[in-house]
Structures are given as structure tokens and as C-alpha cells.
Symmetry: C2
Subunit: 383 residues, 2 copies
Amino acid sequence: MPDFPTAEFERRLANLHAGMAEEGLQALLLTTEAEIRWLTGFRTLFWQSPARPWFLVVPAEAAPIAIIPSIGAELMAQTWVQDIRSWSAPHPDDDGVSLLVEALAPFKRIGLPMGREASLRMPLSDFQRLQTGLPDSRFVCASTLLNGLRQVKSPLEIEAIEAMCRIAGRAFDRAPDLFSQGQSLEQAFRAFKIALLEEGAEEVPYLVGGAGQGGYGDVISPPGDTPLRAGDVLMLDTGATRRGYFCDFDRNFAISRADERAKAGYRCLWNATEAGLAAAKPGAAMADLFTAMNAVIEAEFPSPPGQAGSVGRMGHGLGMQLTETPSIVAWDTTPLVAGMVITLEPSLTMAPGCMMVHEENLVITDAGCRLLTPRAAPKLPIL
Amino acid sequence: MPDFPTAEFERRLANLHAGMAEEGLQALLLTTEAEIRWLTGFRTLFWQSPARPWFLVVPAEAAPIAIIPSIGAELMAQTWVQDIRSWSAPHPDDDGVSLLVEALAPFKRIGLPMGREASLRMPLSDFQRLQTGLPDSRFVCASTLLNGLRQVKSPLEIEAIEAMCRIAGRAFDRAPDLFSQGQSLEQAFRAFKIALLEEGAEEVPYLVGGAGQGGYGDVISPPGDTPLRAGDVLMLDTGATRRGYFCDFDRNFAISRADERAKAGYRCLWNATEAGLAAAKPGAAMADLFTAMNAVIEAEFPSPPGQAGSVGRMGHGLGMQLTETPSIVAWDTTPLVAGMVITLEPSLTMAPGCMMVHEENLVITDAGCRLLTPRAAPKLPIL
């Protein structure tokens, strides 16, 4: 702690203050891990416990105020935040609410992330008490502002994500030693998690995948104990972290042999990713990436009407969270700008219950884009 | 999937329906992972992504209705839930809200967890749209009901927690091979995470700890690169999971040698835990456990005025979350009943910036309590 120099946080705050001025926000209230860490550098696994709320108040023209349980005061004092107000939590009847009322009372128009991808990490009844305690203040949605700022990564953030991508790339390189016929998916997942840690990952909050003859049925289930068979396609999709920044990409492997349809599906997704990479440049929109990748897929593996992109989208933002805004969907017109880190995640369905998905991570540059993940092999690797 | 037989979920629902009847709730709306998994068995790491909300509606006299993104419909269909309504998420302007309005419209008084430890895992603006769409309905807090039911574990849940405790116990048994002088805390954490996975843990969402001469400064920081020195006390506190159920306990080790104060602090916390174990029985209150443990600590390591229990509490509920209600604090009068799984987590401060903490997990039985963790050694182990 902290993971970045103070200048990094000063720049983030300056950008936020500029955005708040444009939107006429006199203050901001944050309750969630990624937003608070983005502005403070406060990084701890303690968010796992729902027992205590954590707050950050950002006045329009001043430094952030941390309003946090006393158990976190010492760690917060190691960040660049100077104004730390704490209470002994959990508290019988006032878990930070009166401290919040005091800090927010001067402000009439207060931003709060209330929109896309936001959640309220405090009891709703406490939020209602806060509103009652601030009869002259109004909370307005700050999601567009915050999502927009967090979408564009600094060079240090890009470095952190790329470091994690390289680590996971080295773990995937060990696939021939890690995965084998007869092994259960559960064993394969365990072996891969250990490999990720050995290669330098600090946390592995997310590892999902699937395996099945020539493709897999879904991509969000926990692993089971069915042994891998010859002809299975095994996919592992990992969101691991280093210094609190995620990679999020997958790799597919055939066990012992691959049928022609699986090879064709793999090749199609590899080509779709190429089309996405070619389209990824400043000025293009997220929807353009969807269109580019979807055209390649529909030409070869047409979806049933209305079901193009069977996982719902074909990529998303990436950073302190496994998935961030924006989304690669037909309706997301967010323009790409240099510094945005996103995943390309095309998928296709070869038959009912038999799908395949590819994923790579990239950063938008002035000239176009640059892969942060080592590119997947152009042909389905056979283990 | 599922982790438990249908009868387990039927019992949970019956208990919930009984509680809803008592409180006059016509339906319940759930948005968070633990609550939805508790009723459905739906277990996935996909909750890591904030892009999509997930909902469960529980009518007062009927089976639960899952209102979820289509990417999860296949997995949900493997649970006992029959009524699954899905939409393609993320959606440009209706992420489940109109489906929620339709499902909740018949009900006037709707329970929602809004109190202690609750959060709202949907955009607040969508919740406001939901309220607008249900002009004749009122949301009331269902936290006391839900927390109370979830606090008492079934035999199968206790088995799951105990299995995870045994796994972590085996990993801690390997301490002499895992931790050594000269190693950084970061290396020690990595080695321990790998050991947890090797011994059978499926996820390691939480590993924190500390190290320092004769004690440590705080217990929520990420590990650093300072090498362990002779005379350091090393503490690791892990919340690892198997089948979605947590253990949450720690162990302390001295590196090469231990000073007398560290030995005395360790012994005092071990004795405090004994006092907690003796007091843990049906009819006692959580506050009684605090009093029993605190008396042992204050006799030997008195706190500065008003700072007894320097981490804020001395234990908590345990189950599908790392920490659950209730809390072992002076003001929590929740009565212990057979089946409750809790942690005892006494801590003390030996000098400014030099603290120690112990933690064990237990289940309340008809006769008293039973440890789920292998009991820590009575004397500070020296590696």
C-alpha cells in the first residue's frame, strides 16, 4: 500500500472534480469497493465481510473524506487520504449514518452511483435514514460520470492489467502438463488455480469453464467430477488479480482429439476475434465491435432468430472488476478512446447444448489497439 | 449442482413461509448471492460480474420465482426452482424491472432485506422504477427474518462447514514446511493458498494476516514483501470455501523464537477462547460470549478506556458468507440456539501497533457447543 503514487490519485480526483462541475454535483457518495479503491488506493479483502459499510464522500472542490469502520482506519491512513472519520462497527444503531449526515449536510446536490452496474453497499434502511437526515439534499445518479472515468485506464493501470495477463498466459502455457484425459473438471480447475498462484497471481476470484464432446453446455457452472474424455473441448475462463487488477480471458483445448465441427467453431471464433481487433480503434463504438465479430460468426454459424451472441454480449470493460462498463452489445454506442481496456468475447452455438467461447484482452491505443493477452493459437490446440 | 437434496430447500422455504406469515409479508424480493443460493441452491462465481442483476421473488404461499439473466437459466434449471423467467442481460433499458413488476404486482406488503448487513444488488434507479411500477405495494425490511433463519444451520450445512474447517486445519498443520524466516508475507500467503487448494479447498476468497516482532499491527492489509524475522509472530486468517461454505479461522506462529509477552498474549487469547467455549450454549446470548472472553483479556491485558475488543467484535456468524449475523459484541443479545455456527475471535493489544487475534469455529449443540476447527495449540507454536 499504496499500489500507485499519489499523483495517480490526484489525476483521478482532478478528472472527477471536472466531471462533477459539469454535472453540477456538489458532492459524491461512494459505498462500493472498486469506486472507493479507485480514488483512495484502499485495497483489502475485508470487503468480503458484509458486516460493515464503508463510505467515501467527495466534495466538489476538496479532497475525499473516508467515513469508515475503525478497524480500517490504520490501513486508510497509509493511503493519500487525510480526512478519515471512523466509528466502532458494527454499531447497535448508527453504522456511520450520523457521520455521513454531518459530512454531507453542506451539499444540496449529491451524486451517487445509481445506474448501470451499480449497487448500494449499505442497508437501504440506513440510506433512507440518511435521506431523512438531509432534508434539503437530493441524490442524483453519478453512474455515467464514474463509469466513464473508470473506463479509461492510466498507463499504470494498463501496466497492472498487462502484468496479470502475462501471468495467466504463463499458466495457460502449462496446459499440457496440467490437463489430461480422465481428470475431472474439478481437478483441472484446482490444478490451474495453483498454476496461476505459482506464476504470480495474488487472488483467483473467478475461474469458470466447461467441458464436453466438441463443445460445452454453459460457462457459469461450478466444475463437476465427470472425467475428461477424448474428443472433449475443455475451456477455462479466468479472472485472476495482481495488485487488485484483473485479467479476464479464456483458452480452449481439445482432449486427445478434436472433431471437425469443433475445429471449425474454434477457427470461426478466432477469426471473429481478428475482426474485433481490426475494428477496435478510437472513434469506433462498442456496438461496432459487436457488428464486426457477429458478422464473422453469423456467416458460418447462424444463430436462431434473435439469439445472436448467445451469452448476451461479446465483451466488456476490464480493470479493478472482472467486468466493467461498457458492453460489446448491439445497443452500446460508447465510443472507444485511447486507454480503454476491454475484452473481446465472441461465442457461438454449434448445436443445442454445445457452445464455444473465446476471450482476449486489449487496450485501445491512439493508432488502434494492442493485445494485453498472448494471442490464442489460431488452431484448436490438442492436448 | 445442486449441493443439497430438494428436501433441504423445502425445509428452508417452509421456515421462511412460516416467518413471512408471522410478519404479514405477502412476498419477498431477494437480490443478493447468499440469500438466493440459500433458497435455490444456485451456486456460481458469475456474481463477480456487476453487469447483471439476479432476482428471486418468494410469494407467501408458493414456490420461489427466479427472475434472472438468460445466461443463468440453464444452471438455474438444474436447481429445484421451476418458475424461471429470464431476459437477455445486460439490456438497454429494462434489466429485469418489468418482469419484477409483473411478478410482484399481486402483493401489497413485500419484504426486502434492508437492515443489518444487507445491501441492494441492483441499481437504485431500477429499484425506484420498481417502486413506481408498484404504486400499491410497500417494501418493508425482512432482514431480521432472513438473518434469523440463516443463522441456524441444518445438519448438512454444518457438515459442509466442518469439512472446510478440516481442510484448512490440514493446511495449517503443514505450517513448518510452508513458512520460514526470510520469506516475505506475500510468499507465505501464496504458499498457504496453494496448500489450501491442495488439501481440498475450492475457493480462497479471503486470506489476510500480519507479521511483526511479538505481534502485528493490523489484520486487514494485503501482504507485503518484508522478510519474516526471528521473533516475529506470523498470523494467517483464512476464509476458504468448499461447496460454497466457509471456514473462518486463524493461526499464530512464532518465527524461530518468541518473547515472553507474545507467549503471554497467545496464552491469554487461548484462555479467552476457552471461556467463550464454556459460555457457548443454548440460552446464552452473543453478548455473554463477549463478556466471558473480554473478562479474561481485561484481567491480563486491559484495554484503554472504551476500546475493549480492539477489532470491534469478538466473533460472528459463519456459513455461506465469511461473516454473517449475529456479532459477538456487548450489545448483541441474540440468543444462541442449537445449530448456530459462529466464530470466537478474541483479540488483544499488547502495545501500540502490536496486537494478536485468535479464531475458532463452533456449532451450538443441545448440550453446549462443539468445535468445528481443530483446536489451536495451547502454547504459541515456534517454527
